[in-house]
């Protein structure tokens, strides 16, 4: 299962490190939110209302050039907020395949290429604004503005916990990878590398199931009975 050339080891190493770094930078870093750019200085509630309205509007735009203008507006806003344009574009397009590929591909095969382009552009523009909102606002502020806009407490708490434990498991995965690296003398073959990754994903899944049970117990132990009680109520 071991090969002499360094390519596969590098492949495993690079894919894991890149994915983890990108994930940490893109989802968890508050570095951009702490800058004093154009978007960071706006009231988070106002920002949220305007961005929600924009996203809703984008969903109904059927004109490609209008969509392009909106997309460019997003990029200009990013630049005005001290966000690295390349990072921003990469981050937006990182998520696009997840949402669009499977939906847009049938459209391409049924010859309706224009519809597919509109669809992809629409998603890209929507994601751009959603990303702008989240990276220019600190997480605490984001959750607070959701609360002040009347989003039920339970949704916010679930979002909050999801965020918290995704971060936790990213760290666990990173440590597991370091543990493997420290014991890896020769190089991994591609197949073995994939096998390792899939076994770790399975392990993480099992661990997260167990942890969710324990977290639930910890909540029950402090009086949780199925309802998040709000402050002052």
């Amino acid at each position: 299962m071991l090969s002499q050339d360094g390519w596969h080891k590098k492949f495993l190493e690079k894919s894991i490190t890149n994915a983890l770094n990108f994930f940490k930078e893109a989802v968890f870093s508050e570095e951009i939110a702490r800058k004093k750019g154009f978007l960071q200085l706006r009231d988070p509630r106002l920002k949220m209302i305007i961005f929600l309205a924009l996203i809703l509007t984008i969903c109904f735009v059927r004109n490609i050039s209008h969509l392009i203008i909106l997309y460019i507006t997003g990029i200009i806003l990013a630049a005005a907020s001290g966000i690295n344009i390349l990072f921003f574009i990469k981050r937006v397009w990182f998520f696009i395949p997840l949402f669009t590929l499977f939906i847009a591909i049938p459209a391409v095969f049924t010859q309706n290429i224009q519809a597919a382009i509109i669809f992809v552009l629409r998603v890209a523009t929507c994601v751009s604004f959603a990303v702008l909102m989240t990276i220019s606002t600190r997480h605490g502020e984001l959750f607070k503005s959701l609360k002040s806009l009347g989003v039920p407490n339970i949704f916010i708490q679930i979002l909050d916990m999801t965020y918290r434990y995704i971060f936790f498991f990213v760290k666990v995965f990173e440590e597991t990878h370091l543990g493997l690296k420290s014991r890896l003398i020769k190089n991994f073959e591609k197949k073995a590398a994939w096998r390792w990754i899939s076994s770790r994903i399975g392990h993480l899944f099992k661990r997260s199931m167990k942890m969710s049970e324990e977290v639930y117990m910890a909540m029950v132990a402090r009086g949780y009975t199925g309802e998040f009680k709000k402050h002052g109520g």
């Binding site: 959750f143 965020y163 918290r164 434990y165 117990m217 909540m219 029950v220 009680k229 402050h231």
Partner: protein, 274 residues
Amino acid sequence: MADETFGEVPQSELLYELKGVSYSYLDKFSALNNVDVSIKTGERIALLGANGSGKSTLLLMLAGLIFPSKGGIKFLGRDLTEGIFFRSKVGIVFQNPDIQLFNSNVADEILFGLLQLGLPEKDIRNRLENSLSAMGIKHLRDRHPQYLSIGEKKRVAIASVLAMEPDVFLLDEPTAGLDPRTTRHLIETISTLSEKGRTIITATQDIHIVPEIADRAIILSEDKIVIKDGDMRDILRDKELLERHNLIHSHTHIHEGKSHLHPHEHPDHHHPHE
């Protein structure tokens, strides 16, 4: 520690009564076997045993988070049932603080239990401040748990239980992974709570801390049964018993050029040599 926070508790009342308690996971894997134990209010008890001896299972049961497959538990003379009364009386600190820190900042974490209890706003504020200062974590109040060290996480987990002012504290391996200063702080916190009449039940493998946090020790064997229940000093003196149950181990040392074999406390570090 803010003394005024923790009022006195009446002593010598029968708190827990466990009769023939067994527990098995998925009806297959036995985790606890036929346990008979009585616990009085205000007692300080150490639950000792190697990994997998059922200490944590017993603690979860005392916390009313899992229930016996066989046998029964009485709490203050009544069958143990869940409910806000019970939750306000019994607090548990889990071994892994990450499962206990599920809120987005330290203050919210401490507020969680207080809000669930439905306390008045003024009490909530007071308790938050008192528990933050009791654990020396006032400066961490706005911090997200992911940016805390393990010692800080543990302090927050304890503060979140402390704030609820329970009469009974259940602690699962409280010193695991902690630096000496945090361990010391924790032991002092336990002593203060105990002086105020709180019942403290600690599951641990760290024999060093037992003389400071317990008067009574219960040893669980690898067969998940109670093998010994008695005075902490008598039990700690019985090196053969401790060694048999994997709580200390013998190994060779070299002192001034000579090697000799003697028992060593489990699992690690420092032991005094005269």
